[in-house]
Homo-oligomer: 446 residues x 2
């Protein structure tokens, strides 16, 4: 595994700067196999929503959403009706007692989702994409010139490393080949060579579907380098993979709303340990971001959870209401049950993929995520050919985005209501579409 | 007017750092007069939404939203039904052709709202609060050690200065007394003393309702210091105050979704000139933020507007759909007509306030915003007493947040549908509630 190291020297820094200004951004347009021709006529595409009306005669389990293609990409996912209805909540003051109570409960429910009862742990819910969680870590938990060890299992591990560098961290990266993950002995060796302020790991890298092992990793860090903070990118894992925040002694998990949590995109959601907050408070220099500054947000989050109105920047009452609804469902079901349901659906999907004679990007079964499956295409089939055939069957999968293998695989997201509400029939529909689509592309299992 | 200057020296920097770590954050909980006792019983407050069903018998102009207190704070505002319905749009891929077309049109419509036809101007729509716009400016358009001139007419001017300092700018601030604004001769003097990379002005400071004059200010900057970028905080002005982006030669206007644009909170919206983009591209050092980096977002915005799928961080399809609906309404009405309607409503409100014998925080009529009114309370009336009386009449106003005068005034927001849809009767209801509430507090016009 290649390890790209350390403090950026001067010519490398110049090269970095020139790359910053380069006009081509290959990784910024990664959905190559989903791309449509530039001259597509979009004038006839649906642009405004026609909502189906809920009536008293609607059966309990039937979605009242207008008919639409089933979105089975690794986020955004399909949403529950009650969550979507919360999105159109009438306007209310972001500091009024009704919304403050809802925001406070939302933060409290996050503690249950992350399985933490430690009062020194601190949840954050900010308006932003999941990516903002990286800035929250990079601008608050590490200071310019300090060392970070980044474990990368794909596109998003590399992104976390880039973000840390922007804020001045010296990044050492351990990158696995596509489909595998850095191994504990190599990580132990790195940890013993340098004193790292923090280590980051992508729990599930959405680009590869590789699941990282958190419990043993965190044990290793606490044994070999006890002062190093253990930071998890949980964007594609929170609410579908087991995360025992307290039990595994994690220091930070950053995620987003639109994946397994099941709330529309637009919220950065995170949990930090008392140890992480302490590291922030012990900084020698101020945080290096304003919008992503814990200095600005910490008292706000504490106030909201205590049901006190508070202001730094205006939150989105509608998104927070929707998150409240989604978390209410998660807590009511129980997180253990939720993880088990995702594992059961994943096992079924992976068996179906194997039965089709297809291989996953994540090679080792223990390294395979339970909320998504990255599937290698047969050599004779192109994603650009297959994905439209799935779409014509009402199923939307995603193309590959790992630069080394982008054109060779597709991604199937199976999180949230698509897994938890069997009456929707999403998983069966997707497997059938995959079988038929491949067959239509001329593929027959060898 | 006090001018707090310049490069932060070493002891001052230490003091700054210690302030960063101080446990009390008086300005972070500014809604003092809106605050309810900590022991308020929130268990009976509405936490989930009961949506009224739209039926075919609903008259054209009548809102189908559930009954609720009319929100007349200076943002978030009351929303149009169609905009709220767009918020609950079913899930769709952020890189699928339907959403990409909607996002592209949204960006194009922003050009109309800002009245720019210059193809080198660039709109941005990011998940985040309005505050993120400050980071976008501070992390991309100015480099550490460069000088910024900040004109402050209240809380939000001070905030913009704080944000610029976080990213290493040397900030010179010209602050007006509450209720007034920095005057051109003083600004000209400052501009002639130092070469500023950029100047910032808060078009309407939400804390005071003071309207700044942009046209003459920009002319002054272009005459005295032609290389200085003219940056406008338009959070409380875009879509209710005239902004002629091209005609006034502005370089940047940053705003948010939840005020006069009339879309729920959660989007940072901005427009930058070709000159601003050039300044970004000519940086000697990389941008100092990751999530707020123009390097990361510029190609994405350009691709979306060209209807090409593109990815840096997941946008919120629901929020962008809602913004698309809101902008569609704005463009259909015409921006000039929208500005005129806000001015007419504002004139009426300000006349009613004067008729009640009350004074505005903004002393000079030319400096009074048209989307909100900051009203000094009679000496005998406290906001904590009056606001609940308004609430009992179904009207929500905001308390004061300018630290020098916070307890002495209240704020009345009059933007968007509350002004544009007379059938809602919001303005009349609010004026009547204000009259009755003051009377109930024992106030009689002298």
């Amino acid at each position: 595994m290649p390890r790209s190291s350390g403090p950026v020297d001067s010519p490398a820094r110049l090269s970095l700067i020139s790359r910053h200004l380069a006009p081509d951004y290959p990784l910024n347009t990664p959905y190559t196999v989903e791309r449509h021709p530039d001259n597509i006529d979009t004038s006839l595409l649906p642009k405004t929503q026609t909502r189906a009306l809920t009536t008293d005669t609607t059966p309990a389990n039937m979605s009242t959403q207008p008919e639409h293609a089933t979105l089975l990409i690794p986020g955004p996912i399909e949403f529950d009706d009650a969550v979507l209805n919360s999105m159109s909540h009438y306007s209310e003051s972001h500091v009024g007692p009704g919304f403050v109570a809802v925001f406070g409960e939302t933060l409290s429910m996050l503690r249950k989702l992350f399985q933490t009862t430690d009062p020194s742990a601190q949840p954050f819910v900010l308006s932003g994409s999941g990516t903002l969680g990286w800035d929250l870590v990079a601008a608050n938990l590490i200071e310019p010139g300090e060392d970070a060890l980044v474990l990368s299992t794909g596109y998003f591990g590399d992104g976390f490393a880039d973000c840390l560098k922007v804020y001045g961290a010296n990044v050492t990266q351990i990158s696995a080949e596509p489909g595998s993950r850095p191994q504990l002995p190599e990580i132990e060796k790195a940890l013993s060579e340098k004193k790292y302020k923090l280590l980051t790991v992508t729990h599930v890298d959405t680009s590869t579907g590789v699941l990282s092992e958190l419990k043993n990793l965190s044990e290793l860090v606490h044994r070999v380098s006890p002062d190093t903070l253990v930071i998890v990118d949980g964007v594609c894992s929170v609410a579908c993979e087991e995360i025992d925040f307290d039990g595994w002694k994690l220091d930070g998990v950053v995620t987003a709303s639109q994946k397994a949590i099941g709330c529309p995109a637009g919220l950065s959601i995170s949990m930090f340990s008392g140890r992480a907050i302490q590291a922030f408070q012990n900084r020698q220099t101020p945080p290096t971001s304003y919008f992503a500054s814990m200095k600005n947000w910490l008292p706000i989050m504490q106030n909201y959870e205590a049901k006190k109105p508070s202001y730094f920047a205006t939150p989105s009452p509608q998104l927070v209401r929707a998150l409240h609804t989604a978390l209410g469902q998660i807590v009511a079901q129980g997180v253990k049950e939720r993880f088990a349901a995702h594992k059961a659906a994943s096992d079924k999907i992976k068996a179906a993929v194997a039965a089709l004679g297809l291989k996953q990007v994540a090679t080792n079964p223990d390294d395979q995520a339970h909320g998504m499956t990255a599937i290698y295409l047969p050599e004779t089939v192109k994603g650009a050919e297959l994905l439209p055939k799935l779409a014509s069957r009402g199923v939307v999968f995603a193309g590959g985005i790992h630069k080394a293998i982008a054109a060779k695989y597709i991604r199937f997201g199976h999180m949230g209501v698509s897994v938890l509400d069997p009456s929707r029939g999403h998983i069966e529909k997707a497997i059938k579409a995959l079988e038929e689509g491949l067959s239509e592309c001329g593929y027959q299992k060898a």
